[in-house]
Symmetry: C2
Subunit: 329 residues, 2 copies
């Protein structure tokens, strides 16, 4: 069975570890989010793509859930030496004009080993390679068996409007403010003119199944869908599209999905997720703790599949992956 | 006494460690070479400026003579994972279009701690800061007591024409080929339109003494002099200018100065150095092993000062620094 997976970061990466065990990896096309990419100190950083590579290759730090096992932080310690005192000429050292938590130069941690990846990506992009090419090279270097395609080679950035700090980049919100500030709107800068990367629309048209990973619908999946043609390509396959709810028992497993849904006037529940995706998916997979909500999801015209969705251990992850492949009945 | 020091890398850095002990550091202006700067994987690297900062602050690796003590190399090991196989799409991974020793991505070693400096410099340059501003910030962060001015804020690159590889950048020659290939010409790309950095011409006009450090005359000192106005400013002070010969007993203490002089048709000796600098300097300091050459130097219209110039230990370095200050008689 061929599967296209629309991905955010950690949740998607974990799901892919199962999928690549239960079907032929070469039959999987992961379509990755680039809305949380950033240019930092001259380097191009793609956190969601790297999380997928590091996790599915088994190199991820299991303790942190991101970055590499055995990582060291010498470069950041050195960079911190140069962090300017407030009010100095270099006072906007973090992000351009940034104040608050991103003013320190080391607000976004880049591990020493991880830096090798960013140096490579930046090097190749400066040589004129497309992000998709570079991503394929990085995936190959880590021995990935599945295809990993950034949704676009073009610049697309998730921008978050906050009540207190105006519009800030996704990483300023997510890392700088530790997603602890209220959000009033989300926008995908550059999306209007971005083109789907090579292979993306083909994968969505040809896959027997399209999976929407249990990633944040608002800031991880939506930037992928925002690339012109992608949302339509998914909607055209609605009956073959299955999403895994990132909300379990009214809470996000990780990150601010529940709060974001609430702040944007939605229901932070599996029903809210079903409503969010209703024009795109035929099936929503929900956790057993939410079994009682299956009927409300079906009332929206979707199938509901109830199973363990919290990927605590490989057996659960693999069972979830199998459920996704059989989830059309 | 106020002193302006025209600097290359290691030899200049070592001399400055002595000068800052024997005179008030705030009275010293070091004018640094940027001809060996490079843009590497998106980062701006200034090897000579960093060697001066790391050495004079006592942080340099005494074993290597460059880079930081206690350095680690995780980022390079990670980058090497991505080094492409020859002939692949990414086969020109090292320098743009490079072949041979610079084709591997990790041909120029960037230590993890050192990377913090390059991340900072690049960050600030992308913010629009001038190289001189950033250099002052870096110097301040390491507690330097003297002034360190890049000779120019503009782009200036030492280019080396080799018999076998055509024209290559200084670092391709020096690090990539380990300065082991014959050179037919040296050129300073960008020099014609470069402007002296803020303070450079003032320092040369106002210093009581101008010192030319025992650095490579051809590829370390000449790029500094190549910035319009600098050579003239030095020549105008000829009687107050003292150089330390980087050639001792017919050999360069470090690097290819002796071979470069020979390849460019010069004499690889203290007399060759005297001839190279004769329009610029009033005094040449030579090592005791070259004492017999003093008369030939004086025959060129220069004063010759004979002393220990090999800075094996602080006492010798300090004595050399003192000789430079008193070397007008």
């Amino acid at each position: 069975m061929t599967v296209a997976v629309i991905c955010g970061g950690v949740g998607a990466a974990r799901l892919l570890t199962g999928l690549q065990r239960v079907i032929e990896p070469g039959e999987i096309v992961a379509i990755g989010n680039v809305g949380d990419d950033l240019e930092l100190h001259g380097l191009h950083v793609s956190p969601d793509l790297d999380t997928i590579v590091y996790t599915t290759s088994g190199a991820v730090s299991t303790e942190r859930g991101w970055g590499l096992e055995g990582e060291t932080w010498q470069a950041m310690a050195s960079l911190a030496r140069y962090s300017p005192s407030p009010g100095s000429a270099a006072g906007d050292g973090g992000l351009e004009g940034a104040e608050g938590p991103t003013a320190a130069l080391d607000w976004f941690s880049l591990g020493d080993r991880d830096l090798g990846t960013h140096l490579y990506r930046t090097h190749r992009l400066l040589q004129g390679a497309a992000l998709g090419e570079v991503t394929a090279e990085i995936a190959r270097a880590w021995g990935l068996g599945f295809h990993l395609l950034p949704v676009t080679d073009d610049r697309l950035r998730t921008m978050v409007t906050t009540a207190d700090h105006g519009e800030i980049s996704f990483q300023e919100y997510f890392v700088g403010h530790q997603h602890g500030v209220p959000v009033t709107a989300v926008r995908f800068d550059g999306a209007e003119v971005a083109k789907p990367g090579p292979g993306v629309l083909d994968a969505l048209a040809q896959a027997e199944r399209i999976v929407i990973a249990p990633s944040n619908p608002v800031v991880s999946i939506d930037p992928v869908l925002a690339v012109p043609g992608v949302r339509q390509a998914v909607a055209a396959r609605r009956d073959d599209v299955v999403a895994v709810s990132p909300i379990v028992g009214g809470k996000a497993l990780k990150g601010p999905a529940d709060r974001l849904l609430t702040e944007l006037g939605r229901d932070p529940s599996v029903v809210g997720v079903a409503e969010w995706y209703r024009d795109l998916i035929g099936t929503l997979v929900i956790d057993t703790v939410d079994a009682a909500e299956a009927r409300r999801i079906e009332a929206l015209g979707l199938r509901a599949v109830v199973t363990d969705t919290v990927m605590r251990e490989p057996a659960i992850t693999d069972a979830l992956a199998r459920a996704l492949i059989g989830a059309d009945s």
